[in-house]
């Protein structure tokens, strides 16, 4: 009896000194609750529209812009690129489930064999290289256009990112992405969460900061300040620059893990990419 009590005390003691680490679904639900409490009038799916979910003035301008969406040309060009066969006669459709149509909701995923997160953009380049083609640049240009077309075919599908709890690699990648999100960096000493959790909805100069929830649903994005369509990792690089941190390489392990984390957080929301932003 004494031994049992002692064992329980020891186990209790061990658990009391371990940090509380929430799993992916606990993180997502906590995020949903936080933003639902903070923006009680915003319907859940509206978080996929970024600041346009709660900034009425910006929303009206955005809706006007959507009459002639600036990303439309990228979708058309992306479709042509997607359907153009490689030199060996094969095409992108041969590399993806369902011929690459309506599959973005499953990206990124954790490739257990390779031991790494695979984003849609990485998969596009892996497809090219497997078929003897050169990889494309990751942030803008043809790859972003192909991704835009693939996102367009996935509109309305709910994000369904998997982080299998029985896969230590997947859990580790998700956790690393979460750690990156909450890690302060750069000379301004900001974490992603400093803006997109603590300050979400508040003004930063002329813009209001978007929520983490829904942040991954609408990429690639045509940003007016870019004057072109770009991938989510171009935005990661830009965010890092804005806090005076040198950006990491596109599709670096860190950025892919971050995208894995952010995408999981938006699980259940409908994809709405490509999109336009100021």
């Amino acid at each position: 009896m004494k031994k049992s009590i002692l064992s329980l005390c020891l186990i209790g003691g061990i658990f009391s000194v371990l940090p509380a680490v929430a799993g992916p679904e606990e993180d997502r639900l906590a995020m949903v609750k936080y933003y639902s409490d903070r923006f009680p009038d915003v319907p859940m799916q509206e978080f996929a529209n970024g600041l346009y979910a709660f900034d009425q003035s910006a929303r009206e301008q955005w809706i006007e812009m959507e009459d002639f969406p600036p990303y439309e040309i990228a979708i058309d060009d992306g479709q042509v690129l997607f359907e153009t066969p490689f030199a060996n006669g094969k095409s992108y459709a041969d590399c993806f489930d369902n011929g690459g149509i309506g599959v973005k909701q499953d990206y990124p995923y954790f490739d257990a064999d390779a031991g790494e997160v695979v984003t849609l953009e990485l998969a596009i380049n892996q497809c090219r290289e497997a078929n003897g083609e050169k990889a494309l640049a990751y942030m803008i240009g043809e790859l972003a256009e192909i991704a835009a077309y693939m996102a367009y075919t996935s509109r309305g599908n709910e994000f369904a990112i998997q982080v299998p709890l029985d896969s230590p690699g997947a859990v580790a990648a998700y956790s690393a992405g979460k750690q990156f999100f909450y890690t302060r960096r750069g000379q301004l000493n900001f974490a992603c969460s400093s803006c997109h959790i603590q300050s979400a909805g508040l003004n930063l100069r002329a813009d209001r900061l978007s929520t983490t929830l829904g942040q991954a649903t609408h990429w690639p994005v045509y940003r007016s300040k870019w004057g072109e369509i770009g991938t989510i990792q171009k935005r990661f690089a830009e965010c890092n620059s804005q806090v005076w941190a040198k950006p990491l390489e596109a599709q670096s392990v860190e950025y892919r893990n971050l995208e894995y984390f952010l995408s999981y957080i938006s699980n259940g929301l409908e994809l709405n990419g490509p999109a336009s932003r100021r």
């Binding site: 909450y182 890690t183 302060r184 000379q187 000493n189 969460s193 941190a245």
Partner: protein, 108 residues
């Protein structure tokens, strides 16, 4: 807790940086070797890069330092290299402390 000290240190660095504009501070010792100062800054930058946390102005400061040296502005060159080294060291300190303290930023 350490994060707060890092934040304070970085605030001081920004303030200090304001006073490190080229040709303002003439107190740098002429006996200090530019080569040694520059090498120390490069070494600190390499450590920050290995931690995957380089501040965005640091490499530019090193480049400006080299240009200043090439143009014969030795004191400016040394000041700029020292500023780059200080930034790199603070970036490394930030990375090390955040590796441990990042969970303090998790609100829920």
């Amino acid at each position: 807790m350490i994060g707060k000290y890092v934040f304070l240190a970085m605030g001081l660095a920004i303030v200090a940086g304001c006073g490190l504009q080229p040709s303002r501070d003439r107190s740098a010792s002429p006996t200090v070797s530019f080569a040694e100062t520059y090498a120390a800054a490069e070494a600190a930058l390499a450590k920050a890069a290995a931690s995957r946390n380089v501040w965005s102005k640091t490499e530019g400061l090193l480049q400006q330092s080299k240009i200043a040296n090439d143009e014969g502005r030795k004191e400016d060159a040394i000041q700029l290299a020292n500023e780059a080294r200080m930034q790199a060291e603070l970036a490394l300190t930030q990375a090390i402390s955040q590796e441990k303290d990042w969970q303090e930023n998790v609100l829920f």
